[in-house]
């Protein structure tokens, strides 16, 4: 597998200890099965104390179009008889905004009488849009929603690495350049201008904020904030969630969610115990699964034909983080 280097023993040692994990894999599988049983029991109990309202667990996944397909399959087969009432436990960092809207509308079809989203810990970004689709959001004291400003991933042309930014940063960048023109160095301002994107691209990035706003208003005004006696203006909430926070990671906890006008309730008592228990058991399960995967990947690497490494595409020398022709000498 190529020339040995001074640092390769470090890699080899890690591989050996991962291989030793293989012997423990059956033990890990037993522990994972035990956690799965606990999660199933807790889900059953959650349904019992909620008058048999079925609960869909939506955990640890980026929302994409293919996920919508899978959820539709699950709902069609297992939730056909849910009687128009549905709870959805959401733990997600977000994903594709169009897919999140589609998923939200899908859950609505299965919960026309009652649709509640339960957030044990995270429903950020596009997942925040999702949980705004129901009648109520139930949150633990540590649950977080997040702002809905889109995240644009671009290759940094100077450093040849992927970086993320929000369209909100366009305005602050233009402000910075304006200030530099007026009060600082005109030369520096011009240099900064030259590094900016094509204006049409900048305009389309800025426009992308409106996508989240439009979806959010549609969802809020047709369910959570529909009807008389509901406080909270969908347009104001949408504006706040898309442009009102300085950072995409901003923690919108229960109090903040309530303050901006969302219908939110705090999980308490046995329901809190169950939901938090499901979340923790699932997190433990993922840790154990990671150990199993570590052993698996070590075996996969060991069984690689050595000549395969010679077939790898040649890297662009300007790009870091890709194998270079002289890696043996590092």
């Amino acid at each position: 597998m190529g020339k040995r280097t001074a640092r390769q023993p470090q890699v080899s040692r890690a591989m050996e200890s991962a291989s030793e994990l293989l012997e423990q894999v059956s033990g890990l599988d037993n522990q994972i099965s035990e956690l799965e049983k606990q999660i199933e029991q807790k889900l059953t109990r959650l349904q019992e104390i909620n008058d048999k309202c079925l609960c869909f667990p939506f955990f640890g996944v980026q929302i994409t179009g293919s996920v919508v397909d899978d959820v539709f399959d699950e709902l069609r087969t297992k939730y056909r008889e849910c009687g128009g009432r549905l709870s959805v436990i959401v733990d997600s960092g977000g994903g594709d905004i169009d897919a999140a809207y589609n998923l939200a509308m899908l859950f609505r079809r299965y919960g026309p009488q009652s649709l509640r989203f339960i957030v044990p810990r995270w429903a950020k970004s596009a997942a925040t849009l999702l949980v705004c689709a129901g009648d109520m959001i139930s949150m633990t004291p540590v649950a977080e929603l997040g702002p809905l400003d889109p995240q644009i991933t671009e290759i940094n042309p100077l450093e040849h690495r992927l970086e993320q930014f929000s369209p909100l940063h366009i305005e602050s960048t233009l402000d910075m350049i304006r200030l530099e023109y007026e009060e600082g160095s005109e030369q520096l301002a011009k240099a900064l201008m030259e590094r900016l994107q094509f204006p049409l691209t900048l305009g389309s990035f800025k426009k992308s904020i409106e996508i989240g706003q439009q979806y959010l208003v549609r969802l809020l005004e047709t369910r959570m904030l529909a009807g008389e006696g509901k406080q909270g203006d969908p347009a104001e909430i949408a504006s706040k969630l898309t442009t009102g926070y300085a950072n995409h990671g901003f923690c919108i906890n229960l109090e903040e969610a309530r303050a901006i006008g969302l219908q939110v309730q705090e999980l308490e008592g046995e329901e809190l115990d169950i939901v938090w228990g499901i979340y923790r058991s699932n997190a433990k399960k993922r840790q154990l699964q990671e150990k199993v995967k570590s052993a698996e990947v070590a075996e996969m690497i060991k069984s690689l034909p050595p000549e395969l490494l010679d077939k790898l595409p040649k890297p662009n020398p300007k790009q870091p983080n890709v194998p270079g022709p002289e890696e043996g000498g590092q």
């Binding site: 699932n282 995967k293 990947v297």
Partner: protein, 84 residues
């Protein structure tokens, strides 16, 4: 992570991608010599730049909760072979 370990990790992940046609991000994150979460993300980013790939979510289980993994797969193996 040292530059050498970084390059070895991208090479090995790339070889797995060629061998199996796809590799899950979870398998990359579980590579035994990657310690910090950021290291795995650098390897994933390296693969994305090096190969013509697409990322999709694959449902791997539905009991007791639906479960997905993110998979990086070669978009068109013949096209990638031409760049060898």
């Amino acid at each position: 992570m040292s530059v050498a370990t970084d390059r070895i990790a991208v090479k090995l992940a790339g070889a797995l991608l060629l061998q199996y046609g796809e590799i899950s991000k979870e398998h990359i994150r579980a590579m035994p010599f990657l310690i910090e979460p950021g290291e795995a993300e650098m390897v994933i980013s390296g693969l994305m730049k090096l190969f013509n790939v697409e990322v999709y979510q694959r449902m791997v289980s539905s009991y007791p909760t639906p479960e997905w993994e993110e998979v990086i797969r070669l978009r068109d193996p013949r096209e990638t072979n031409r760049s060898f």
